[in-house]
């Protein structure tokens, strides 16, 4: 069984977390440089504002209505997201981080379980531990669990596919609302008289393959409760996850660092294949879950996120940050079962646009690209990970010194970094 967990109005919920005075009030979050609205809570939607509105055009209305406007505080969002993922890892045998506010939780071969109750338990756990409202979609496939999550939003936050009147639900869902069916596929389907999810489910596989390629065929299979999507498959994904589970608990830091180096390299290799660069890296470290109360002390789940000065695809820089996080969250005396690497904030790995004053930045970037391209070619020719970084201590101090951090970014309404800066922690009276 697969759970799809999605934080409701995530950015707006994060902004509200330490501001009880904003409870029930409209909140809007702006994109980098305060350009457009990228997130808003229900109260704000009720005023008629939408995602994608340019702030410039709605500024006067926001003031008049008393909308609380924030610049995006990714440091805060990443920290809260990390906390959610730590909770998920402790709750499910296997997890996949899909984006900053969405994850898939896997319960392979779990048959006799009260899934709706587990969904409610998870929802309550997250609400109590991090005060984040989430909704949970539960189904045998990823596509259906994502669809159930949409239904859950209006049905108390948890929706279990097997308890639904399946064909009735599918009939009222448009093809464009299904995961993986974009604008062009919607049009193609409409030309063939296929408008609802039910039409799509009943489509023959050979026809689906002809009209929608292999991807679309997998979507049809998924609607028929056959798991077809093994890994994240989306045109532009938002993050890349790799993880290593150890057959036996590992307590030794150097051993964990070696595993981390290997899996960071794998993640970077995949990211470079897609010509992307990442803005953040998260590392998670976890022991096995202890169900026996007397052994609760053997349990430890932690994770943390670091931000790069610039989106990067340069392995030594990424690995240096990852290793540093690992050393920070590592605690002695636990037997670790898994280490997980997550690259977030992916964007196209363009040549850096620089000016007169950033010459060194451009030259560095060119050199790094040359090195990494050569490594990629060697690895492609002689096998994955044939050429790899020496992990321990070898990559210290490579990361740039921060002189070009966050240059000319406009963030007039930035909230404090409540959870990551001791000078900005929330106040209690």
């Amino acid at each position: 069984m697969i759970f799809h967990v999605d934080a409701n109005s995530f950015y707006a919920s994060c902004e509200q977390l330490f501001r009880p005075d904003l409870d029930g009030k409209p909140i809007a979050v702006l994109s980098n440089n305060d350009g457009v609205i990228i997130a808003l809570n229900q109260e704000c939607k009720n005023l008629g504002l939408k995602r994608g509105d340019t702030y410039f055009t709605v500024r006067d209305r926001c003031r008049a209505w008393g909308v609380n406007v924030f610049s995006s505080n990714y440091t805060l969002y990443a920290d809260i997201s990390t906390r959610l993922n730590i909770l998920y890892s402790a709750f499910a045998p296997e997890t996949e981080i899909y984006s900053i506010d969405e994850s898939f939780l896997y319960f392979p071969n779990w048959n006799n379980a009260d899934f709706p109750q587990m969904g409610m338990d998870l929802k309550h756990l997250v609400m109590q531990s991090v005060h984040m409202p989430v909704s949970v979609g539960i189904a045998p496939t990823k596509t259906l669990s994502k669809l159930c999550n949409k239904l859950a939003k209006s049905r108390g936050g948890v929706c279990f596919w097997d308890n639904m009147d399946k064909d009735y639900e599918l009939k009222s869902i448009a093809t464009s609302d299904i995961w993986g069916i974009g604008l062009s596929k919607t049009r193609t389907l409409a030309r063939h008289g296929i408008h609802t999810a039910l039409d799509l489910k009943n489509m023959s596989l050979d026809k689906a393959k002809k009209l929608l390629t292999i991807q679309g065929m997998k979507t049809v299979q998924e609607l028929n409760e056959i798991s077809a999507l093994d890994c994240i498959e989306r045109e532009t994904r938002q993050n890349i996850t790799t993880s290593k589970s150890f057959a036996q608990g590992v307590a030794d830091l150097p051993q964990l660092e070696t595993a981390l180096a290997e899996y960071t390299q794998l993640a970077v290799y995949r990211m470079r294949n897609e010509k992307s660069a990442c803005a953040y890296i998260s590392i998670y470290l976890m022991t096995a879950r202890q169900y026996d109360r007397s052994r609760k002390d053997e349990e430890y789940f932690n994770g943390a996120t670091a931000q790069f000065n610039h989106p990067t695809s340069f392995l030594p820089e990424i690995l240096a940050a990852g290793t540093e996080i690992l050393r920070t969250i590592y605690r002695e005396g636990y037997k670790y079962r898994k280490v997980m690497v997550n690259l977030l904030g992916l964007e196209a790995d363009n040549q850096v646009q620089g000016d007169l004053f950033e010459d060194t930045l451009i030259i560095d970037k060119k050199k790094q690209d040359a090195v990494m391209t050569a490594c990629d070619q060697i690895n492609r020719k002689y096998g994955r990970l044939c050429l790899h970084p020496g992990s321990r201590n070898a990559v210290k101090d490579i990361s740039p010194d921060g002189q070009y951090a966050q240059w000319h970014m406009k963030r007039d309404f930035l909230s404090p970094s409540y959870t990551t800066q001791i000078s900005s922690v929330p106040r209690v009276w």
Binding site: P20, S129, H131, E332, P426
Partner: protein, 115 residues
């Protein structure tokens, strides 16, 4: 890293410096650090400027020190279970008035003071 000269005799014996998180934070996912700016908890030994380690994972009980929502702010109080009512209701006192606790943020696990 420079690799010239003799290897340090201490190599292989390096340890991380003592990390106070190990002592103060059991549940990293649900623990938050907050700063106390009030002045009503002197009897509890909490003074203005102290840092509170607040864990949201545990539900508060009778006698718990907790951070709760009071109107539009967070305050730190000692919670007490009502003995009169059947359903478990938590109360706190503020400025010699009794309030029913509606929203708990988390339980205070530690108080950190720089002296």
């Amino acid at each position: 890293m420079n690799t010239t000269g003799f290897p340090s005799p201490a190599q292989g014996y390096e340890e991380k410096p003592i990390d106070l998180n190990c002592l103060l934070i059991k549940n990293p996912a649900s623990s938050f650090i907050m700063k106390y700016e009030g002045c009503s908890q002197k009897e509890e030994g909490i003074e203005q400027g102290d840092y509170l380690v607040v864990d949201c994972a545990r539900s508060p009980e009778d006698g718990s020190l907790a951070v709760v929502r009071h109107e539009d702010i967070f305050i730190c109080v000692r919670l007490h279970l009502s003995k009169k009512e059947k359903n478990q209701v938590l109360y706190y006192t503020r400025l010699s008035k009794i309030y029913r606790c509606t929203e708990v943020f988390g339980c205070v696990k530690a108080v950190v003071r720089l002296v």
